[in-house]
Amino acid sequence: MQKFTEFADELRFVFVESDRWKWLIEGLGNTLKITAVSLIIGIVIGIVIASIRSSFDKNQETMKKRGGVGYNLLSALNSISKVYLWVIRGTPVVVQLLILYFIILQSVSNGVAVAMVCFGLNSGAYVAEIFRSGIMSVDEGQFEAGRSLGFNYLQTMRHIIIPQAFKTVLPTLCNEFIVLIKETSIAGYVGIMDLTKAGDLIRGRTFKAFLPLIAVALIYLALVTVLTWATGKLERRLRRNER
């Protein structure tokens, strides 16, 4: 009984006093905001890069023969995409965040916005490769059948390839979402109060480490568990549709 009262007292001290629980709520809000916006940025970048890369792979032979600016443009875009993928995937995301915050986007005072850009750019690289692998996984025969009926490249992609590719990559995409949530926990490096930072602030203020950090861990765990469950459900639904 004594133990229990002590625990309740500590809970009250750590979270209720000075309304410190509100920090966690605010931090969680920022974490979710950053994750959601970067996911959207990441998907947009991913679609663009994956389209450039796979259309270059598929069309370079034809376009080279025809010559002209089309080929040069696509080839340049393809090279830029490759450099982007190389840099983003070759450096730690913390370093990218620091560089963006302290150098490239120095003039932007809104840390949350910088984090959104940073994680968006970062996940864009991974989403691009997810989409590209999805496009590659669709059998070449599907593409040829579309072209043989008279569809052009883009029509074939739109009506035949992308719908099939999207279905295959949806679970992986959800996974990327889950990874992203956890990755944003480094936002505190540039002074953003995300969920992790909020827990750490409480620890600093109360000189109690156990409760705030465990609380943060439990919140992440709950988020990830719900998302994993939803992904699994989606995956089963997709497989069922395959008949």
């Binding site: 025969g141 043989s148 052009n152």
Partner: protein, 246 residues
């Protein structure tokens, strides 16, 4: 309308910087209403030749004229001409994301701007013809190989092509399903469709073919009427080939 639907001149297709000469100088004319059967040993370039006709393979050299248009000219809009050249693949290649009726109506609706009702009515007529009207709402994964290939044929027919190209349409089928696909092709030929067929079905070649082309090492080695080719082969290569397959 010219009697020649396809004219091929000096067609070459090289791979890997010219080390693989899949096609090595082919001249060939296909007339309207002909059923041309292409035979030859594995790797002799049959598929490459057929796929060059609608530019799924880009020729290294040579020209292809389709209905009076030089389609190998880079300025030609190949997509428009492909609408008039139906193609049937060994692996069927039905669109996995669409059910049977949508497989058939997609191209007429999107490319010929046909209304959905008209396209579906026509698709149902075609399905009726091959006895698969009850499968309209089903997805390709639920069909047998023979059924898939028959649908693939009518999918191409829905575009009302002037010529049909078949690349070993029965080679991926269980033996008991070969007949139903050949029957559809026989029907087509009877209806006067111009066809180019790569196949190992010599019975079909003899019965339905109006001309047989024997290819060897990327070239046309011998060609003629089916009976002449099968009963009186001239070249040693053809004699050798026939002795191995019969």
């Amino acid at each position: 309308m010219s009697a020649n639907i396809i004219e091929v001149q000096g067609l070459k297709k090289h791979y890997n910087d010219g080390t693989v000469k899949a096609l090595n100088g082919i001249d060939c004319t296909i007339r309207r209403g002909e059923v041309v059967v292409i035979i030859g040993p594995s790797g002799c370039g049959k598929s490459t030749f057929l796929r060059s006709l609608n530019l799924l393979e880009l020729p290294t050299e040579g020209s292809i004229t389709f209905e009076g248009q030089v389609i190998t000219n880079p300025k030609t809009d190949i997509n428009r001409h492909r609408q008039k050249m139906g193609m049937v693949f060994q692996q069927f290649n039905l669109f996995n994301n669409l059910n049977i009726i949508d497989n058939i109506t997609l191209a007429p609706i999107k490319l010929l701007k046909m209304s959905k009702e008209d396209a579906e009515k026509k698709a149902m007529e075609l399905l009726e013809r091959i006895g698969l009207a009850d499968k309209a709402q089903v997805y390709p994964q639920q069909l047998s190989g023979g059924q898939k290939q028959r649908v693939a044929i009518v999918r191409a027919l829905a575009m009302e092509p002037d010529v049909m190209l078949f690349d070993e349409p029965t080679s991926a089928l269980d033996p008991e399903m070969v007949g139903e696909v050949l029957e559809v092709m026989r029907d087509l030929a009877r209806g006067g469709m111009t066809m180019v067929v790569v196949t190992h079905e010599m019975g079909f070649a003899r019965e339905v073919g109006t001309r047989v082309i024997f290819m060897n090492e990327g070239q046309i080695c011998e060609e003629g009427r089916p009976d002449d080719i099968f009963d009186y082969p001239q070249s040693d290569r053809l004699k050798d080939f026939l002795s191995k397959i019969i």
